[in-house]
Structures are given as structure tokens and as C-alpha cells.
């Protein structure tokens, strides 16, 4: 990582997509007349493309499907138009900024409300709020927005740069303005995607719950990208008014949001350039289909059919498909792993000899304690008045027959679910009710019984997500720096990969890992947040006996620097690892002692046998 002087070759590589875009957009005017296009159409496509950049960040990269983007497109457009005709300013740049800021402010409000629910709820809410803006536009705010008439007479853009001014008076000039804005917008979007912030966005798309569990403040990230998307929409809306001298009320229509969604899917979500391509296809088909005799009004239905087919069988869209094709064509035999495992320095010490029950009982300070922890579901008490203390450096197993309340107890420790009563203390602080994200930030990390990894990301990116939560905190909108250039984070990834023996698989998509490797990655994710306490929920679930042996060794190695609580069914694992064992039965703690003592404990025996008998009779 040397500081690069602007070496042309390196710069060209760095800005390759932008350079390619500029070249294509620069040649386009020469081709336009031959393909039946005009500057006006090109301008509209660029405007849709810009609008779509924000939407793609929101939907393609973060997985948030909004049907209300028209609200911001319209808000930005009308504020910008109003600034110019009021006139508060003659400078189109000031008006555009005002529109963008206004859209972003509306984005904060609508985002705050809509993001209170996720998934399909979110789509419904954005659609409903989008409609609210439409109704506000046409009636209560008609004095400013012109209601159904829109705002006509938006002056041709005059761009003031302080010392000099550029007046743009024809579609050709507008084209260059839009090209500049789009390329800059594209560059910013691409930087966001490649930034630590962008990595967290993709993590949210892949697995929201896990992103929160490794310590990222998901709602803040979502709101931030929602506001960014709103700002893009506002800027595009402002430009729409400028490019046709008229700000149409349609900007607020549900159809506008719908068209944006359709165009993005056709072009390819998650590609940034997709919405632009989709807009070109839409406008081209709109013109083409209408001029075919006998189709006329059916053009929209045909587009609808194309859309449904694309969603069903070609979800990646045109650009996504092209990317896949390109990768397939370039695919060569997999090269040897770039990073030799020997060069990776493990952070933890070398494996310890087999721990035995003879190990002296841990005497460090109490790091985690529960006081009278209780969880009730309706009439059922899952965990009843459990008090428990964990000392630093200890490996503690929590066992108990099925239905003993282990998982509930465990989830309360990780703050995944709140207790009905009782408290949890960590390093002497009451952490009850903080939530998984904050608890993870404080140093308690949990690995899950069912793998909660980020399947379509590589192992490296999986671990990066967890490492980022540690080194960047729960929320840091670091959008413009390249995530792969952060040496601290890279070191963290390598260390975590080494400790779960995945150093050679760093560039493999997580979905392609073998089951045992996925399990190790699952543990690695928890470990990469560098917790003080690691909570392992059945780490060997579903593993073959050989894999279990490996895993036990792995865990023992890890344990040298970290306190562990483990829930496990496999008694070989439990007795091979644990310093002390807590036994839960029917929600009560019935025993807590060294493995040897537990083995001899008659209550524990009775509990297991009794539950066994009950199971068999059932």
C-alpha cells in the first residue's frame, strides 16, 4: 500500500468504469441520429439513470425495495423548480442543491417511519407514503407546486460557479450537464459500494439479523442509505424540471416509482449501471412498440409481460446477466490461493495441550453474571430464576435435556431476546435490554446453531463484516474510502481466517463451502469481532465425528484468549472442553460444577434419565 503518485496506468485502472462511461457518452451524440435518438431522449435516460443510482444502492445493494421513490423525485424537483421561479436564486446549482437537500430531509422523515418495519412491510409503507406526497402535492401544497398543472416556466439552467457562470440553452448543453452529473453520481455510488459502508449494506441485504448480531447498528445504516437514495432522487427530480423547463406533477405519481422499479429490474439491480440501461430499454420499447401497427395501447401490457418474465427467469437483468457471462468467459482454472497460509500470523497462541478436568478452576474476576434471570412466554416459564457467574478465561458449558431452557437462556445472554425479569451484568455493568448489537460492541459475540453467514459473499467479505464492526464501531458512514485498503481490517480478516482455518478459502463464496467449513466460518464471524466472551450455540451441530474432533481442537485453541460459554448436545465435546458445567432442567439451574462432579451428580442423572423416559413414553 504505497502512496500512489498519479501514475496514469493506475489512475486509468482506478477510474476504468468512469472512463468507459465518459467515452461511451461522448461518442453517443454522434451515433444518436442514426439510432433514432435525440438529445432529449438521451437526457431523460440519463436522468432516470441518476434517479436509479440511488434506488440501486437502496434495493440492489441493501435489499430495501421502495415503491415510494417518486416522493423524493417530486419533492426535489418541485423545490428546485420553486427556487428558480420564485425566484430565490438564478443559479441552477443552488436550486439543485436545495432540491437535493429537501429530498434528503423528507428521506429522513419517511425513512424513519418506513424503516420501523422491514421486508414486504417496507415496500407497502414506502408506497403508501409516496401516495401521501402525491395527495399533498395536488391539493394542500398546490399553491407552491401548481397542483395538477405542475410548475411551468422553469428557466434554462444557469450554472453559477462564483467567478463565472455557464448558461445552458439547448438540449446539447443539457446533455453535457447531465453527463457530468451522472458520471460524478456514478463515481460516488461506486465508491460507496466499495467502501466499508457499502460492505455493511451488502451484509444487510444478505442477512440483516447477523449483521446486527456482529455489532452493526442496522437501522442507522438503513436510514443513511435511504436518505442517500432520496438525495439522488431529489437531484434527478431537479434536473428533470431543468431539462424540460417544466416540472410535471407526474413526478409524484405511483407510476413513476413503478417505472423506476421496472427499469432497474430490466437493466439489472445491483449493477449501478442497470437502471440507466433499463431506462434506455423502456423508452426504446415505448417508442418502438407504439409504432407497430395493431399494438398501440398494448405497449404497456407487453412491457408488463417482459417484466414478469425477467423477474421469473432472468432476475439479474441485462447488466447482471452480462456480468455473469463476462465472468464465465474469463473463468480460468482456479489459481492457487494468493495468500500462503504460512504467511498469516495467528493472533492467538499455538494450540494448547489437551485441556483436562484437572485444570485448576478459573479464578479470574467475574465477567458475566445473571441475577434471577426469568423468561415467561404466556403461562410457560422457559427460564426460571437463574443466577449464574462466569469468570474470565473460563470455558463454561450449559447443558440440559431438550426443553430445559438452554437456548432461551443463551439468547438472553446475547441480548437477542429480553428477559421477563432479572438482570445480566457484564464486567459489572447492567447490560439487560441493550440489544444484540450493543452487547456485541461491548464484547459478547454469539455464534448460531443454524449457520447465519452471508452466503453470496466470499469468506473474506464475510469476515470483513465482522471485523468492521469491531474496528469501525456500530455505525460509521465511511463511504468514500476503499474498504480493501484498510490494513487494520485486512489484518483482522487474516487473523480470524487463520484461527478458524479458512485462510486458503478466503476468496471462495461462502455458499460454496463444505458444511464443516461453513460451521467454522460461523464461529469465525463471532470470533472476528474480537469478543471478550464468545457464546457458542451447538458449534458442532450436524458435524461428522471427525469434524467434531477438529472443532474441539479449534475451540481449545481459540479459548486461550477468550472466555467461552457453550451450549452443546454432544457430551464428548462438553466434557472435553468445559472447565465448569451448568445444568438447566425445566428452566431451573439444578447443578453447576466441574465436569467430574457433574458426571457424578445424581440430580443431573435423574433429570436426563427422566426426560429420556418421558420422551420415550410420548
Amino acid at each position: 500500500m504505497t502512496v500512489r503518485a498519479a501514475r496514469p496506468a493506475a489512475l486509468a485502472r482506478r477510474f476504468a468504469p468512469e472512463i468507459a462511461l465518459i467515452v461511451i457518452l461522448a461518442i453517443l451524440p454522434a451515433i444518436l441520429p442514426h439510432i433514432g435518438g435525440t438529445y432529449d431522449i438521451a437526457n431523460r435516460i440519463l436522468d432516470w439513470g441518476l434517479f436509479g443510482l440511488g434506488f440501486d444502492l437502496l434495493f440492489g445493494f441493501t435489499g430495501l425495495l421502495s415503491f415510494g421513490q417518486a416522493a423524493f423525485y417530486g419533492a426535489g424537483g418541485f423545490v428546485a423548480a420553486y427556487f428558480l421561479i420564485a425566484p430565490f436564486t438564478n443559479n441552477a446549482i443552488v436550486a439543485l442543491i436545495a432540491g437535493t437537500v429537501a429530498a434528503a430531509i423528507f428521506g429522513v422523515i419517511i425513512g424513519y417511519l418506513s424503516l420501523r418495519r422491514a421486508g414486504i412491510y417496507f415496500a407497502m409503507l414506502t408506497l403508501a407514503f409516496g401516495e401521501m406526497f402525491f395527495f399533498l402535492d395536488i391539493s394542500p401544497l398546490a399553491r407552491w407546486t401548481g397542483g395538477e398543472n405542475g410548475v411551468a416556466g422553469v428557466p434554462e439552467p444557469s450554472l453559477g460557479f462564483g467567478l463565472f457562470t455557464i448558461d445552458i440553452t439547448d438540449p446539447g448543453g443539457l446533455y453535457w450537464l447531465l453527463v457530468v452529473v451522472f458520471v460524478v453520481g456514478f463515481w460516488v455510488a461506486r465508491r460507496i459500494v466499495a467502501s466499508p459502508f457499502g460492505t455493511v449494506l451488502r451484509a444487510i441485504r444478505e442477512n440483516t439479523a447477523r449483521t446486527a448480531a456482529v455489532g452493526h447498528d442496522v437501522p442507522k445504516y438503513k436510514l443513511t442509505i435511504f436518505v442517500i437514495a432520496a438525495a439522488y432522487a431529489g437531484l434527478a427530480g431537479g434536473l428533470l424540471g431543468l431539462l424540460q423547463g417544466y416540472m410535471p406533477p407526474d413526478a409524484f405519481y405511483l407510476d413513476t416509482s413503478g417505472q423506476l422499479v421496472v427499469q432497474t429490474i430490466i437493466g439489472g439491480a445491483g449493477t449501478l449501471i442497470g437502471p440507466l440501461v433499463g431506462a434506455a430499454v423502456w423508452l426504446y420499447l415505448y417508442t418502438l412498440l407504439q409504432n407497430i401497427a395493431g399494438i398501440g395501447a398494448l405497449w404497456k401490457m407487453i412491457l408488463g409481460i417482459i417484466f414478469v418474465l425477467l423477474v421469473t427467469i432472468f432476475r439479474r437483468g441485462l447488466c447482471g446477466g452480462a456480468v455473469v457471462l463476462w465472468r464465465r468467459l474469463r473463468a480460468r482454472p482456479a489459481p492457487a490461493p494468493a495468500v500462503a497460509s504460512a504467511s498469516v500470523k495467528p493472533t492467538r497462541a499455538a494450540p494448547e495441550p489437551r485441556r483436562s478436568t484437572q485444570r485448576p478452576p478459573p479464578t479470574g474476576p467475574v465477567v458475566l453474571a445473571t441475577r434471577n434471570l426469568t423468561k415467561r412466554y404466556g403461562g410457560l416459564t422457559a427460564v426460571d430464576d437463574v443466577s449464574f457467574e462466569l469468570r474470565e478465561g473460563e470455558i463454561r458449558a450449559v447443558i440440559g435435556p431438550n426443553g430445559a431452557g438452554k437456548s432461551t437462556f443463551f439468547n438472553m445472554l446475547a441480548n437477542v431476546i429480553p428477559p421477563t425479569s432479572g438482570t445480566i451484568e457484564f464486567n459489572g455493568d447492567n447490560i439487560t435490554g441493550l440489544g444484540a448489537t450493543l452487547v456485541c460492541q461491548r464484547g459478547i459475540s454469539k455464534s448460531f446453531q443454524i449457520n447465519q453467514i452471508f452466503p453470496s459473499l466470499t469468506v473474506r467479505d464475510n469476515l470483513r463484516i465482522a471485523v468492521l464492526a469491531r474496528s469501525y464501531g456500530k455505525f460509521r458512514p465511511s463511504m468514500l474510502r476503499a474498504v480493501d485498503r484498510d490494513a487494520t481490517v485486512n489484518a483482522g480478516i487474516d487473523a480470524a481466517a487463520a484461527s478458524v482455518q479458512l485462510a486458503e478459502r478466503l476468496d471462495t463464496p461462502a455458499a460454496e463451502l463444505a458444511y464443516g467449513e461453513k460451521r467454522r466460518l460461523e464461529i469465525g464471524l463471532a470470533l472476528a469481532t474480537q469478543p471478550q466472551i464468545l457464546l457458542l450455540d451447538e458449534p458442532t451441530a450436524g458435524m461428522s465425528p471427525a469434524e467434531r474432533v477438529d472443532t474441539v481442537q479449534l475451540l481449545r485453541r481459540i479459548a486461550s484468549g477468550v472466555t467461552i460459554v457453550i451450549v452443546e448436545h454432544d457430551m464428548d465435546v462438553v466434557f472435553g472442553l468445559a472447565d465448569r458445567i451448568t445444568v438447566l432442567f425445566n428452566g431451573h439451574k439444578i447443578a453447576e460444577d466441574t465436569p467430574d462432579a457433574i458426571q457424578a451428580n445424581p440430580d443431573v442423572r435423574a433429570a436426563y434419565l427422566g426426560s429420556q423416559a418421558a420422551h420415550e413414553s410420548a
Binding site: 461522448a26 438529445y39 395536488i138 391539493s139 398543472n149 405542475g150 453535457w176 417544466y246 417508442t287
Partner: protein
């Protein structure tokens, strides 16, 4: 370096701006040559003239709503254009009856070519499509729309590109009022004209000193109609308005508003809603018993309102129409139009088709008499006030606001028993002559003197 025509309109630093944009163009290695010519001297090119009139044919850009709430009206409008272009190109229909066009095929010997684009009942697609028609197809004239918001947007577009716009359907006062444009001409009666034309018939049928209440869709057209109707019924008839129920456009259930109206104690219910909104609100007003208690007036009746609501609801309702086909019984020109239309499409034309058809005839006549497609000269010819016989009788444009002076048919809905055929929904009670209803103050229009 003509490519990026950077016109110094404002008193700004033109040197640096020129350098910046030319730099961009030069860097791109291309110098695109698409620009918008502007008015300078009379001999200079303007808009798409003469470029758009050089070939064997001239292009006309047409936008109509084929999808969205006004799609039914849009299809009628579309047919009006299609048959008008057919007649102009073949010398059929009304063409032999227009003196300047008699015996001619095409306009100034050129064939009319056109494309029709769907506006989806929204202004933005209309502006988008017409921009393409103007910049790419070199349209010599643009026309067609079915809502005042679209009409006004297209008027301004036409003005910007200096291309003539023969406005389609638009009833708002603004179209030839505050938003009037040198390059745009409207034939449909404005809300003002409709209201003024209605007054004598209302005096006879309903009487003086009544209480009225309005249902008003919340957009320019709705407020225009409410304002004009209120003004005239108050001044001429002494009616008192008890207020208005303003509702969003596109409302499907009007029950809340209608309850307010039903409980208002008014004698007359003025329903300003248009299109599907008019159909839904009239139908529901009937269900709420309002039509039994009050007289309903629809100042501007939608194209298919008779057909959609039937005589049970529309019987006895007063209103105005741009055109009604029974004019064919008294006017030879109307008969030619209605008959040729019926022969081709198997139904009698509604007023959108009439607007489309006659606007094209009036334009062709003006171009022929001007002997050029040069919009400045065509505008001058249209402004000259030459009177032309059309299905409504003599029509001409006013110079001051580009509103057509034309008769306004005042109609009353027929009852089932009165209908002679299944399209015989209205009886014309008065054909109010145009000059009697024109707004004297031009409704705020300040028409520039030169194009």
C-alpha cells in the same frame, strides 16, 4: 464551433462558459449539430421550418391518452385525428367544403405524416413524446391532449421550440388565459365561455335566486369552472353559492362529499367533476337522492358521460358540450363530419373527435392561405380572424388570446322515452353564438405581438 450553441441570453460571463463547454465537446471529439433555432429575422429559419417542410411530406406529432383514466376519450380523439389526416391527404370528408382546400390532396401538396404517442393521461409522457416528435421527426405542428394540465404543458413546449400547437381537449380558462402562448390555439370553449353560454338556458329552466353548491375536483380546470359558473349564475341569475366540496382528482367514492351536499339545503347541484370522476359522482349523487331533491348542472359534460350514465341519471341535466352529433341535423358541414366518421368507425363522433378533426381542418386552411408552413405566417393567418365554415357554423380565432370564437352548444339530457337511438342522449337547447360568450378581458392573457 457551432455545435454547442451556447447562446448568451443573460448578462453573464460568456467567454468562460463557452470555453468550458466547447472544451467538453472537443474532448469528446464530436460536435453534435442539434440545436433549437430561434426567431431573429423574418426570413430566418424558425422552429422546424423550413427544415421540416423540405420533403414530400410534413410531420405532425400527436399525443393522446390511450392508457390511464382518460383512455376512452383518448381513443375518440385519436380517431378524430386519423380520419382528419386521411381526409386531408385524400381530399375527402370536409376538405371539398373548405374553399381553400377544395380539390386538393395533402396540404400545400405535401402529404401529412403523423405518429400517435400514448400520454398515459399524464403530462410528462406527453411532453416527452412531443419533444421527440419535434426534435427527431421535425414536426411542423403538434397537437392532441386530453386534460388542461397537459394542454398547458404542451403549449409551453411549443412556444419553447417555436412549433405550432393546435391544442386538443382543454377547458380550463388558463389555456387561453394567463398561460396563453403565441404558438398555441385552442378551439374548445373555455370554462368561462361554457358558463356564460349556460346562463340563458338555466334562467329558463331553473329560474332565478337559487342556492347552489359545487363539487369541484381540485385542479386548475375544476377551479376555473367553479369560478366562472359561480360568477355568471350570481351576476345574471342571482344565485347564491353555499360553497364547494373540493375533492382530489381520481376519487372513486364521493359519499362523504355528497352527504355534505345533500345536507346543504341547496336547490342546484353543480357537478364540475370530469371523466370517470363525473361518472362516479353523478351515479352516487343519484343514489343519495340528490338528483331528486336538486337540479344537477354539469357545466362541461364529458365525452362519454351520456353513454356511461344513461338517461336515468343524465335525463334533465343541463350542461354544455363542445359538439354534439345532432348538429348534423341542422348543419351540412356537421352532417358530412358525422356521416363520414360513422361510416368508418360505426359510432357517432364525440366531442374529442370533433376537436381533433376541426382543428386539423382549420390549420390546413390557414397553412394553405398562408402558402407556407412557416409558423410565423400561419400564426398571422390564424390571427387575421378569417371566418371559416365548420360543423359549428362560422369559427375564427381571436388575435388577443388565440381562443376560437365559436358557438357553444347548450344541451339537456334526454329521458329514456325521448331517445330516438342508442346514442341520442342530449338535446341541444341553445347554440349560443360565440361572440356573445367571449371573455372581454382575455382572462389575463398577454399575447406578444410577434412570433
Amino acid at each position: 464551433m457551432e455545435g454547442e450553441r451556447i447562446v448568451a441570453q443573460r448578462k453573464k460571463n460568456s467567454v468562460s462558459r463557452r470555453r468550458v463547454l466547447q472544451g467538453a465537446a472537443a474532448a469528446a471529439g464530436t460536435l453534435p449539430l442539434i440545436h433549437v433555432p430561434r426567431a431573429f429575422a423574418a426570413e430566418e429559419s424558425i422552429g422546424n421550418w423550413p427544415e421540416g417542410a423540405k420533403g414530400e411530406s410534413v410531420f405532425v406529432g400527436v399525443t393522446v391518452p390511450l392508457t390511464g383514466p382518460y383512455s376512452a376519450d383518448g381513443h375518440d380523439l385519436q380517431k378524430g385525428y386519423e380520419i382528419a389526416f386521411e381526409h386531408l391527404n385524400e381530399g375527402g370528408g370536409l376538405v371539398p367544403h373548405v374553399p381553400s382546400l377544395h380539390g386538393k390532396k395533402g396540404v400545400l401538396g405535401k402529404k401529412l405524416v403523423y405518429k400517435i404517442a400514448d400520454t398515459q393521461t399524464q403530462p410528462n409522457p406527453a411532453v416527452q413524446a412531443q419533444t421527440t416528435f419535434i426534435t427527431q421527426d421535425k414536426a411542423i405542428m403538434i397537437t392532441g391532449c386530453l386534460a388542461s394540465n397537459t394542454a398547458i404543458a404542451l403549449e409551453k413546449l411549443a412556444q419553447r421550440y417555436r412549433v405550432l400547437n393546435m391544442v386538443g381537449c382543454s377547458g380550463a380558462n388558463e389555456t387561453t388565459g394567463v398561460d396563453c402562448q403565441k404558438y398555441a390555439f385552442r378551439s374548445q370553449p373555455s370554462a368561462y365561455m361554457a358558463a356564460r353560454a349556460l346562463v340563458p338556458a338555466l334562467a329558463k329552466a331553473i329560474g332565478k335566486n337559487k342556492k347552489s353548491i359545487y363539487l369541484v375536483p381540485d385542479y386548475a380546470y375544476g377551479h376555473s369552472v367553479e369560478h366562472s359558473t359561480g360568477e355568471f349564475t350570481e351576476k345574471a341569475l342571482g344565485w347564491k353559492s353555499l360553497g364547494s366540496q373540493v375533492c382530489p382528482v381520481g376519487t372513486t367514492d364521493y359519499s362523504s362529499y355528497l352527504l355534505n351536499i345533500a345536507n346543504s339545503g341547496a336547490d342546484v347541484f353543480v357537478n364540475v367533476a370530469f371523466g370517470n370522476d363525473a361518472v362516479a359522482s353523478c351515479k352516487q349523487a343519484k343514489q343519495f337522492g340528490i338528483l331528486d331533491k336538486m337540479k344537477m348542472i354539469v357545466p362541461n359534460i364529458s365525452a362519454f358521460q351520456g353513454q356511461e350514465l344513461g338517461p336515468e341519471i343524465m335525463g334533465g341535466v343541463y350542461g354544455t358540450l363542445d359538439f354534439w352529433w345532432t348538429l348534423a341535423e341542422t348543419n351540412a358541414m356537421a352532417k358530412v363530419f358525422v356521416d363520414t366518421f360513422y361510416a368508418k368507425y360505426k359510432y357517432r363522433p364525440n366531442w374529442p373527435a370533433h376537436i381533433a378533426y376541426t382543428q386539423m381542418m382549420v390549420w390546413a386552411d390557414a397553412v394553405t392561405r398562408a402558402k407556407t408552413f412557416d409558423p410565423r405566417k400561419v400564426i398571422a393567418e390564424l390571427e387575421a380572424g378569417h371566418k371559416l365554415q365548420m360543423p359549428l357554423g362560422e369559427v375564427w380565432y381571436r388575435k388577443e388570446d388565440h381562443q376560437q370564437v365559436r358557438a357553444v352548444p347548450v344541451v339537456v339530457g334526454k329521458t329514456k322515452a325521448q331517445m330516438r337511438n342508442d346514442e341520442d342522449f342530449f338535446q341541444i337547447v341553445n347554440l349560443t353564438p360565440g361572440p356573445e360568450v367571449m371573455p372581454p378581458d382575455f382572462l389575463g392573457c398577454k399575447m406578444p405581438t410577434s412570433a
